[in-house]
C-alpha cells in the first residue's frame, strides 16, 4: 500500500528526514513514535505532498504508484488522508460546504457521481454522530475558533466522510482528554478494515491502548531507529527514547 524507501527530505535547506524506510500493507495499523522534532510531521507532510518540503533522495510509492509526480489533491483522490497535527483555520469557508466539496472532488476524480445536498447531509450527520462532532461545528467556518479538541475531532470527521484507504494521523491524540481520545479511537476502529491501513503518529503510548497497532516504529533524528510489535510502545513508555539508537528488530 505504502512503500517509503531511503527517504531524505529538506525543509528550508535543512535535512530533516535522513533515510526513512517504511512499508505499510492493507489492513495494517502502524504507529510511528518519536520525540518532538524528530521529523514525524515532516514525514506526514511529505506523504501528503507539501510542496515546500523537498524530497532530495529516496522514493515514495502509494498503491503501487510513484508519489513524486502527484499533486496533493491527486494523492487524496488515490485514497490518502492526512489528519493534520495543526488543522488550519479557514475563515469564510463553511465546514460542511468544505467537506462536500472535498468528497465530491474525490468522487468526481474517481468517476463516481457527485452527492447532492440531501444525500451529503445525511452522510455527514451520520458520520458526525459516529465521531461525536456537534452539528453546530458543521455550520461554522472550517476550524475557525474551534478548541484544540474540536479541531482534532473535525479531522476524524473528515476522515470518516472521505473514507480513505490510507490514513495518516499526525498526533491526533495530543491535547485530548480521555473521553475525546476514546471517540477518536472509536472513529478509527470503526473504519479499520482489510483494505484500509493507518499510520498513527503519536508521542504517547496512551492512544495505542485504544488503537492497537500491528507495528511500532521509532523515529529519531530523521531515521527509523527501531521497529517492532505493539509491545515496543510499552517498552518506550517504560524506558523513554534514550538508548534506542541501536538494536533495530526489523519491520
Amino acid at each position: 500500500m505504502l512503500r517509503v524507501r531511503d527517504l531524505h527530505a529538506r525543509v528550508e535547506q535543512q535535512e530533516i528526514l535522513k533515510g526513512v524506510d517504511l512499508e505499510v500493507k492493507a489492513g495494517e495499523v502502524h504507529a510511528v513514535m518519536g520525540p518532538n522534532g524528530s521529523g514525524k510531521s515532516t514525514l506526514a507532510q511529505v506523504l501528503a505532498g507539501r510542496e515546500d518540503y523537498d524530497v532530495t533522495a529516496g522514493s515514495l510509492e502509494l498503491f503501487g504508484e510513484d508519489l513524486a509526480e502527484m499533486a496533493p489533491e491527486e494523492r487524496a483522490h488515490a485514497g490518502l488522508f492526512l489528519a493534520f497535527q495543526y488543522p488550519v483555520e479557514i475563515p469564510g469557508v463553511g465546514n460542511s460546504y468544505f467537506l462536500k466539496a472535498a468528497l465530491n472532488a474525490i468522487r468526481k476524480a474517481r468517476g463516481e457521481n457527485e452527492l447532492d445536498a440531501m444525500d451529503f447531509l445525511q452522510l455527514l450527520r451520520e458520520r458526525a454522530e459516529l465521531v461525536a462532532v456537534d452539528e453546530a461545528l458543521l455550520r461554522r467556518p472550517v476550524n475557525e475558533g474551534f478548541s484544540g479538541g474540536e479541531k482534532k475531532r473535525n479531522e476524524i470527521l473528515q476522515m470518516a466522510v472521505l473514507e480513505p484507504r490510507l490514513a495518516v494521523l499526525d498526533e491526533t491524540d495530543s491535547g485530548l482528554d480521555i473521553d475525546a481520545l476514546k471517540t477518536v479511537a472509536a472513529g478509527v476502529n470503526a473504519l479499520r478494515s482489510e483494505d484500509r491501513a493507518f499510520v498513527v503518529i503519536t508521542h504517547y503510548q496512551r492512544l495505542l491502548n485504544y488503537i492497537v497497532p500491528d507495528h511500532v516504529h521509532v523515529l529519531l533524528d530523521g531515521r527509523i531507529v527501531r521497529s517492532g510489535g505493539s509491545e515496543l510502545a510499552l517498552e518506550l513508555e517504560e524506558k523513554g527514547y534514550a538508548g534506542l539508537t541501536n538494536g533495530s528488530s526489523g519491520g
Binding site: 510542496e51 496533493p72 489533491e73 488550519v88 469564510g92 468544505f98 466539496a101 472532488a105
Partner: protein, 454 residues
C-alpha cells in the same frame, strides 16, 4: 492667456457648446458647472488627490458624445432583475421602451424634466454637490468630473421618494454603454478617440422614507471596444430616511470609468451603499458622505475584483459635521496579474461633531507577484470626544489553507477560488435582495475563474 496646467479642456468645452437641447430649468445650473470645470481644469498626477491616477491616455483621446442607439431586449436581459421596476439608459440616453418606472416613487428622466411636480425638488438639489451649497469643506475643492458631468449630461434619472414612503422593491437604474463599432483602439494601445457618456442620478429620499436603488454599469458587448463613462450620483437623504444603494460596475475592461458619488444626510438618516467593481480598465470612484444631521449614519462599502492591467482607485471622503454621527467603511480588493488599486480614505471630523464613531477598513488580497495595492487612510479630527478607527491590510492567499484544502482532494483552482470567495463573500452576501445577491455571487465566481489575461 491662461497658464497651461494639465491637459486641454477644449475638446470637452466643445462638447458643451455643441450639446443638444436641455430642460430649461437646468440651464443655469449647467452653465455654472461648466464654468467651474473650466476654472478647475483637468487634474494631473501633480494634484495631491490625483497623484496615483494617471489620466494621460484618456485625456489624449478625442472625446465624442456617445451615439444614440436602440437596444434589443436580449442585450438587456443579462443585467436586469426580474420584477424590478427600472430605468434603462443606453449611452447616457433614457430608453423608455426598455424601462418600467416604479409607481410608488417619482422617477423621471432629466431630459424630460418639466416644471412643477418633482422638478422643483430636482432643481433645488441637482448639482448641489458641485456648486458649493452642499459640497464638502472648501479644501475639497470642485470635483472636476462631477462638474463636467453636470455640464454635459445628456440625460439622467431623478428619483424622488415621498416622505414616509416604504418602498419594498428595489429600483434598478441600468447604465448601458454601447460604443459604435470601430471606436476601439488596438489592444493595449491608447485610443485616439473615445465615446463618452455622462450618466446622472439624483435620489431624493423624503423624510422617514425607505427605499433601495441598484445602479448597474455595463457594456452591451464587452468585446466591442473601449469608451469613457463619467457618472455622477447625488443622494439627498431626508431626516429619518433609510436609503440602500448598490453600485455594480461591470464595464468593459478597456473602458474608462470616472465616477462621483455624493450622499448628504439629514438628522437620523441612514445611507448604506455597496460599490462592487469588476470591470473597467481605468476606474476611479470618488465617494463622499456628508453627515449633516445629528445622529445620521452612513455605510460605504466596496469590493473590487480586478486582473490583467486593470486599475481601480477609490477615493473616499466622509465628513462628520454634526454630533452623534457614525460612518462605517469596508473596502476589500482582490487583485490578480498586473492589476493595481488605490484606496484613499479620508475621514474628516468637524469640531462640532462630538461623539462621532467612524470606522474604516481596507483589505487587499494579492493573487500575483505583480499586483499592487495602495492604501492610504487619512484622519483629520477636530473634535475631542470621538472614536475613529482605521486599518488596512495587504496580504496573499494563505498557503497553509491552500494545502489543507488540496490535501482533502480539492483541486488547486477550486481551492484558490474557495479562498478568494471566502475573502470577498461578506460584501456579496450583504445584498438582501436575492436576485442581486445571486448575480453578484455569479459575477464574483466568474471573475475568479479565468478572469485575467495572464
Amino acid at each position: 492667456m491662461s497658464v497651461s496646467r494639465g491637459p486641454s479642456t477644449a475638446p470637452y468645452l466643445d462638447l458643451y457648446a455643441r450639446r443638444g437641447g436641455e430642460a430649461e430649468v437646468l440651464r443655469t445650473r449647467r452653465q455654472e458647472a461648466i464654468e467651474r470645470f473650466e476654472a478647475a481644469g483637468f487634474p494631473t498626477v501633480r494634484d495631491e488627490e490625483w497623484r496615483q491616477t494617471n489620466l494621460g491616455s484618456l485625456l489624449r483621446a478625442a472625446p465624442g458624445a456617445a451615439s444614440a442607439r436602440t437596444i434589443q431586449d436580449r442585450e438587456l436581459a443579462p443585467f436586469l432583475y426580474a420584477d424590478c421596476p427600472r430605468m434603462v439608459f443606453v449611452n447616457g440616453r433614457y430608453a423608455p421602451e426598455a424601462s418600467s418606472p416604479p409607481r410608488q416613487v417619482e422617477a423621471v428622466a432629466l431630459a424630460e424634466l418639466g416644471a412643477g411636480g418633482a422638478a422643483e425638488a430636482v432643481v433645488e438639489h441637482l448639482g448641489a454637490s458641485v456648486n458649493g451649497s452642499a459640497s464638502c469643506s472648501a479644501d475639497a475643492g470642485v470635483h472636476p468630473f462631477a462638474a463636467l458631468n453636470t455640464g454635459l449630461f445628456e440625460d439622467g434619472a431623478a428619483i424622488v421618494i415621498p416622505d414616509g414612503a416604504i418602498v419594498e422593491q428595489p429600483l434598478q437604474v441600468l447604465w448601458l454603454s454601447s460604443p459604435a463599432a470601430g471606436a476601439q483602439a488596438a489592444r493595449g494601445k491608447a485610443p485616439a478617440a473615445v465615446e463618452v457618456s455622462f450618466p446622472r442620478l439624483l435620489v431624493i429620499a423624503g423624510e422617514n422614507s425607505q427605499a433601495s436603488v441598484i445602479e448597474t454599469f455595463a457594456a452591451a458587448d464587452p468585446g466591442a471596444g473601449g469608451y469613457f463613462v463619467c457618472p455622477a450620483a447625488e443622494f439627498v437623504c431626508g431626516a429619518g430616511s433609510v436609503l440602500h444603494h448598490t453600485r455594480l460596475q461591470a464595464d468593459a475592461t478597456d473602458a474608462f470609468h470616472l465616477g462621483f458619488q455624493h450622499a448628504q444626510l439629514e438628522r437620523s438618516a441612514s445611507f448604506d451603499s455597496s460599490s462592487l467593481a469588476f470591470g473597467g480598465g481605468l476606474v476611479r470612484n470618488d465617494t463622499m458622505g456628508l453627515l449633516d444631521g445629528e445622529g445620521s449614519h452612513c455605510t460605504l462599502d466596496g469590493l473590487y475584483v480586478v486582473a490583467g492591467s486593470q486599475f481601480v482607485d477609490n477615493h473616499m471622503r466622509v465628513e462628520h459635521r454634526q454630533p452623534h454621527t457614525t460612518s462605517h467603511q469596508l473596502y476589500k480588493g482582490v487583485l490578480d496579474d498586473r492589476a493595481r488599486s488605490v484606496f484613499n480614505g479620508r475621514i474628516y471630523v468637524h469640531q462640532a461633531a462630538q461623539k462621532t464613531d467612524a470606522k474604516q477598513t481596507n483589505r487587499n488580497l494579492l493573487l500575483s507577484k505583480s499586483a499592487l495595492a495602495n492604501s492610504n487612510p487619512q484622519l483629520e479630527i477636530f473634535a475631542d470626544d470621538v472614536r475613529c478607527t482605521h486599518g488596512s491590510t495587504i496580504g496573499r492567499l494563505d498557503e497553509d489553507a491552500l494545502f489543507y484544502l488540496r490535501a482533502r482532494g480539492i483541486g488547486r483552482e477550486q481551492a484558490h477560488g474557495m479562498l478568494v470567495y471566502a475573502f470577498a463573500r461578506e460584501l456579496v452576501e450583504k445584498a438582501s435582495f436575492e436576485p442581486l445577491r445571486q448575480d453578484l455571487e455569479e459575477r464574483l465566481l466568474a471573475s475568479l475563474n479565468g478572469g485575467g489575461d495572464g
